[in-house]
Subunit: 243 residues, 8 copies
Amino acid sequence: MTTEEINVSGKTYDEMGFAKLDTDRKRRTGFAEVVFCAGKNDEHLVEIYKRLYEHDGCVFGTRASEHQAELIRREFPQAEYDRVSRILQIKLDDKDPRANKQPIGNIAICTAGTADLFVAEEAALTAEYFGNKVTRIYDVGVSGIHRLFSRVDDINAANVVIAIAGMEGALASVIGGLSDKPVIAVPTSVGYGANLGGLSALLTMINSCANGIAVVNIDNGYGAGYMATQINRLAVLGRVKEE
Amino acid sequence: MTTEEINVSGKTYDEMGFAKLDTDRKRRTGFAEVVFCAGKNDEHLVEIYKRLYEHDGCVFGTRASEHQAELIRREFPQAEYDRVSRILQIKLDDKDPRANKQPIGNIAICTAGTADLFVAEEAALTAEYFGNKVTRIYDVGVSGIHRLFSRVDDINAANVVIAIAGMEGALASVIGGLSDKPVIAVPTSVGYGANLGGLSALLTMINSCANGIAVVNIDNGYGAGYMATQINRLAVLGRVKEE
Amino acid sequence: MTTEEINVSGKTYDEMGFAKLDTDRKRRTGFAEVVFCAGKNDEHLVEIYKRLYEHDGCVFGTRASEHQAELIRREFPQAEYDRVSRILQIKLDDKDPRANKQPIGNIAICTAGTADLFVAEEAALTAEYFGNKVTRIYDVGVSGIHRLFSRVDDINAANVVIAIAGMEGALASVIGGLSDKPVIAVPTSVGYGANLGGLSALLTMINSCANGIAVVNIDNGYGAGYMATQINRLAVLGRVKEE
Amino acid sequence: MTTEEINVSGKTYDEMGFAKLDTDRKRRTGFAEVVFCAGKNDEHLVEIYKRLYEHDGCVFGTRASEHQAELIRREFPQAEYDRVSRILQIKLDDKDPRANKQPIGNIAICTAGTADLFVAEEAALTAEYFGNKVTRIYDVGVSGIHRLFSRVDDINAANVVIAIAGMEGALASVIGGLSDKPVIAVPTSVGYGANLGGLSALLTMINSCANGIAVVNIDNGYGAGYMATQINRLAVLGRVKEE
Amino acid sequence: MTTEEINVSGKTYDEMGFAKLDTDRKRRTGFAEVVFCAGKNDEHLVEIYKRLYEHDGCVFGTRASEHQAELIRREFPQAEYDRVSRILQIKLDDKDPRANKQPIGNIAICTAGTADLFVAEEAALTAEYFGNKVTRIYDVGVSGIHRLFSRVDDINAANVVIAIAGMEGALASVIGGLSDKPVIAVPTSVGYGANLGGLSALLTMINSCANGIAVVNIDNGYGAGYMATQINRLAVLGRVKEE
Amino acid sequence: MTTEEINVSGKTYDEMGFAKLDTDRKRRTGFAEVVFCAGKNDEHLVEIYKRLYEHDGCVFGTRASEHQAELIRREFPQAEYDRVSRILQIKLDDKDPRANKQPIGNIAICTAGTADLFVAEEAALTAEYFGNKVTRIYDVGVSGIHRLFSRVDDINAANVVIAIAGMEGALASVIGGLSDKPVIAVPTSVGYGANLGGLSALLTMINSCANGIAVVNIDNGYGAGYMATQINRLAVLGRVKEE
Amino acid sequence: MTTEEINVSGKTYDEMGFAKLDTDRKRRTGFAEVVFCAGKNDEHLVEIYKRLYEHDGCVFGTRASEHQAELIRREFPQAEYDRVSRILQIKLDDKDPRANKQPIGNIAICTAGTADLFVAEEAALTAEYFGNKVTRIYDVGVSGIHRLFSRVDDINAANVVIAIAGMEGALASVIGGLSDKPVIAVPTSVGYGANLGGLSALLTMINSCANGIAVVNIDNGYGAGYMATQINRLAVLGRVKEE
Amino acid sequence: MTTEEINVSGKTYDEMGFAKLDTDRKRRTGFAEVVFCAGKNDEHLVEIYKRLYEHDGCVFGTRASEHQAELIRREFPQAEYDRVSRILQIKLDDKDPRANKQPIGNIAICTAGTADLFVAEEAALTAEYFGNKVTRIYDVGVSGIHRLFSRVDDINAANVVIAIAGMEGALASVIGGLSDKPVIAVPTSVGYGANLGGLSALLTMINSCANGIAVVNIDNGYGAGYMATQINRLAVLGRVKEE
């Protein structure tokens, strides 16, 4: 957002009464508005999907329930719902000139266990939606570290790594020590007892002894996929700069 | 680290008895070993500075006390100590062929208040040590948001932004909403009462409603400067890739 | 309550066995007794609505379930239930001389997102019930701060502002910096992961770097509407004082 | 701040390098910039006092140490330092036309114990600095509630009440039940053991069963005095409104 | 328990395989074994009721569900279930020589609100089961403190007071200041948001500025009734002492 | 306090400006006002000791520092200071008719370790000051439970037991299971690491599986001694009652 | 795992797409792979049971639901499901040469109450699955410590003790003081209120004043049974060592 | 302790007034009484060292300050003080028949960083005092995991492993995955910010995804050395058993 845009307030969103839809977002930031479905009531959700579809020809929603998926598919039969990640999207028609032709760069997504997949796939589908190539490296937790080492070269081939782990969350530190690329750590709510709903893994990752690690919210696959996109784009496209 | 390097274990560090110095680090990761001075005893600190100086011709230490600065300067009169950031470094001789000729890219470092400077300067000197150009944007906290807006164009000119704030830590979210570049958020221990030594700001940043934000430990200016370097390098140098 | 009233104890409430109804409240404080419906059993709730209706000609209940709404409407068909705020009220008959003729002053109610509406409407309906004019300013969270700025003049036209936000709760600080009127901050339970059910937003608001902000309990729209009423009345009616 | 002022950014503060002094603040908000002395280094503090004195003819600083008081008094012998509240101020010369002639309205400041005085006096001096009349009602904690009742009429004569308590912090709820005016609750760090440095009192106040109470940070006497000023001014001066 | 009893281990309980029933308890301590029903499976519960009934002619169970009540009433039609307190008891036949003839002494049980009744009745029925006279003083929370004062003489007539409150839990401190008898404080889980499931009230009570207060677990009406019995018995029966 | 006394407010305390001394306390409650010395400034402390001495002929102060002891002894050479408990008292002259002739009843004070003595002696001296006989049973923690069992008969000879423990605080539960008298549990700050300054022991005691246990604040020996006095007096003196 | 095995990465697990099954585990560590059933979807669970059965002739799964038990029994009618521990296992055919002939050594498993059985049986069945002899000592909590003492000799006959307790968790400390063998403490989620879902018991055990105690996660019976097996094996089999 | 010993209470300790010294401990458990020096006053400490020396001919004290070391050396010039571990011991004379001739077995002690040495050496000296052979493997944290792998064979040669780490504490999980021997995890207070004084590392270790790990208190090197001794003895000496 430039100084100018802040000043010309009132024109860069779509007032819907119950919400202010940021329809100008893609032009400004390169990222279209995404729908956080959880907790939205039925009418609002349908209305938002319609508006965004009219505007962009595609819609990407996270944390959608099965019920919401059915609801949207009644209006948009082409909508796709992924049960693992709970992502509900209407993709651009292949012939649409706005469709991403080729995924760029490389984002590695690693999980400690199979129970972390719901977060990993949220991150992966997000990154793919935003046009990135993704390498999935799942179930490589530190309790059987030989599994992780068998994939070290794949991890190092990426521009940015997403490390996803619940329970004690040690995976992020180990990857941080193995890779020279930035690592986005995602704690998950996987575990029980003293995992404190994911807070323990979050604390582990925040206190990491390895460098090059930063942390997003518990189970926030979308946020990780988003930031990884920003970094991967910088790596591939560089930045036109006049400084 | 490649698979091979993991296997050839035992050769990539310098055994000092009380420590294992990672002298091969720069070759592998592009980042030389850095000294965390806090808590090290006098003899150990001097010995480590000597070893690293012999190996690299320069040493970079964080969290150094005034006492430690004097200690090192007795051995290395050219050592420089910055009271604000507590960084104690021996710089490469200008004529040394390994010296960084020109800082690259652009990292913006923003603070909410003047009390956050000790963290900001740790991040800034770190980033400069690793060869980045840094733009300092200090005292732009949200309680007087016009100060932040007067610098929006400077923020957007950077490849990556470091947002540093104590108390309620709201700065990171606001910058996250203004910038399309990745934001590394650093909570600080600045504040009192229910700031919980910085935990409140950390929680604010982890829960940010804005995208493209990830968080490092409280007061961890070094970690933020390190990760910003990784990202800035990707933006400037891209990545030689064969995939 | 004056010293005298404390002394003349035992006469200023209505003993119902399971409860002591404060029927004298409006005379003393200008605020009639309000019913917190959550957790009350059916018979008790109906009995309380009957007693208050007899006494005041109107009843205002918060946190009512759909079931409770049906229950009361069987007795009082004119009762109105608002699904968003969960407020269940029997309004004064328009011809009743006690009915508020004209709302007074101006209370601005701002939310960060659409998910915070259930709290905002609890505050808004409460403020309207107590006779205040309300300005609703919804979905102006800091991740798209241009939306907030387009409404700055509306915020500044109010005598008191209620700032409602979940997740990281940064909205309160930004409004605190923009307005010279008192701001009542309401953290909400909206969010996930490290939002700790609203505690993170509460901590953000308590630690605000901006002045003129005080905080009520998580999701406590009623409490915010109540205190805003007290302040708005002071602004409009002043205070008859003999000191 | 109006929309216009946000846009004309860059002119409403005084760039000092290490800080951005908000010298335009009084015109905009009716509150001059106040100095939070704690943690500022000597040169910076002196420079800030000089700038503000030049600009306003007076300076008000909170959380000043004895050392800082001596430092400032070397430059400004007329500076006054209050050991209890740690406030360090240079008052306007009586003949200065900007001097407040008469304190307005009435703010009641209550404490539970004598140990809470350092917070109470910070609030009281702040309120007096901003031109309010203050009524001090100290050591009226709930363990000897007859002391509080002997002052009920004084409490009810105020436009706004500040309730200050450490330990279990019950005072705020009791006052909230006795008064029909807004109550600003200030938890203090007074206590030991499970008081958690004031967090227990904060939680007590946030969960208050009485209405009309909002809470500021632990030991934040300044913040309470500031917000009480906003409310007292509304009560006395009303609000010039065109809506 | 005397030294001897500890030594003669193995004879003072009834081994049931899944449990060791302390059938000798009443003789030793004056309190018969009580059943904590929550979480027990059906067969075990029935078996335990049978054993205790055979042994004592009466059974007292806490935290029983409706389902458990039906279960036991199928075997013991005379069993009584109280929905509020969830206590499920088989009383001694009136003609049984072991039946308590007359309740002794006086225990005052106070609650802040009507929502705390489920805890208060657990305490009250427990105290009555153990042979105490109980005075119920409900809905006397501090937000309308005149209700409490109208019952002060009743509180002071008791040998021991149980103070039950959720939300901020201030009631215990106020009663502690009014009474010279020991006060057993019971925090309840009543409230929402920052009440932390009752922890906030617990902290309030533990930090009480009043003397003569000690605290039991959240919602632990049984524990309060038990300890109040111990104290009331001491007051009425004194203690046969040879020291 | 009776209803009457609440009403006749303003006469039952001694207004000292900075404090309201409750000089009427002993008549009302049987407990003279006690001084919490920690944090009081020198002049105030001396003035309070003087007033109380004039009024009662004795003064009892807790948490006094060595400095405060010297201060008071300069005025009252007969003052006694106990280094372990930090109690600073001026005892009644033996010939004073108000002096307690004979300690009554029996309070057992148990500690888990020797490090808990500072709390135990605060409790013991308090109980002795209020006229009780005290039995000290120290260093009987559960890690060597035979030490506790060798004193079981002494514990059971008391009317009330104070159980003091830091670290994991298990002592209270074990004593609760051995004794049929009320147990006042005092968690202490003794320990390190995850003892959380005494919170861990507090939680242990609050969650005790044994009945007849209630808990006071961390290190609150005074509070335990006070409440034990109330109970011991009931046991010895009973209660004159007309109900 | 030897250095060699780490290097020969990629061959020691069975890639299943959604998971990497560690089929080589038993050879390396003496412990076959175990299935954590909770949260696994139906197809995955069945597939994993099939693979492990093919490989090992037996499968051991923890935290299985009734639904999962039925699912597996449809494929493997010989599967056994234990409702208390929720363990779902297919045992080795008695004639299978790999079947454990005789349980070795002795592991004592103690619980404080009957409600802790679900954890105790998870530990017991785990230990038995891994070939250990188990001594069950249930319902010996410290509130009736004579029950524990009647079993002291049984506890001391074991090589290692598992101490399981919820609520305040004091059992571990008492056993730690009675036994000279290592004690593995398991906090359980049994309790309510301030038990914090088992965290209170965990803190108790971590802070134990007795030596020889270490703690596993809340309700982690499996983990305790596993580590007890390691220790019991060392005691029985010793260790073939060449150092 | 056998049933008999519990009964013969009163003879198995040495009553010192302020403490009950467990002089019979070595006979019962194989571990002599050890002195926790921190917080003990001078006279008590000296007296305890004297008593134990008389009884055992040696004394082992932990957490001793330099001052305490000097104090003891004045009495026992042969006392040795280790500055890193803060252990202060008087060793048995070599010719004393009670002196351990040869250390047995093998305990591996690993640390993540050099800052954890103070805990590691407390564990190591403890283990050596109790007669074990110790293998020190320091500075092998996961951020440079090749250092750990170069020592894998040393780790696997031990009977039991102590894993010591601060910050995020991930080392324990990685070692747990590499070793088939029991791992005692020791979180340390090393770190800053969100390390919460070691609680974060503790949570990491408690939630470990690897099996065979149990946790002791933060910085509790002594406790880890003690339990490792118990396990190592079992491995070397087995257990004379009659079951």
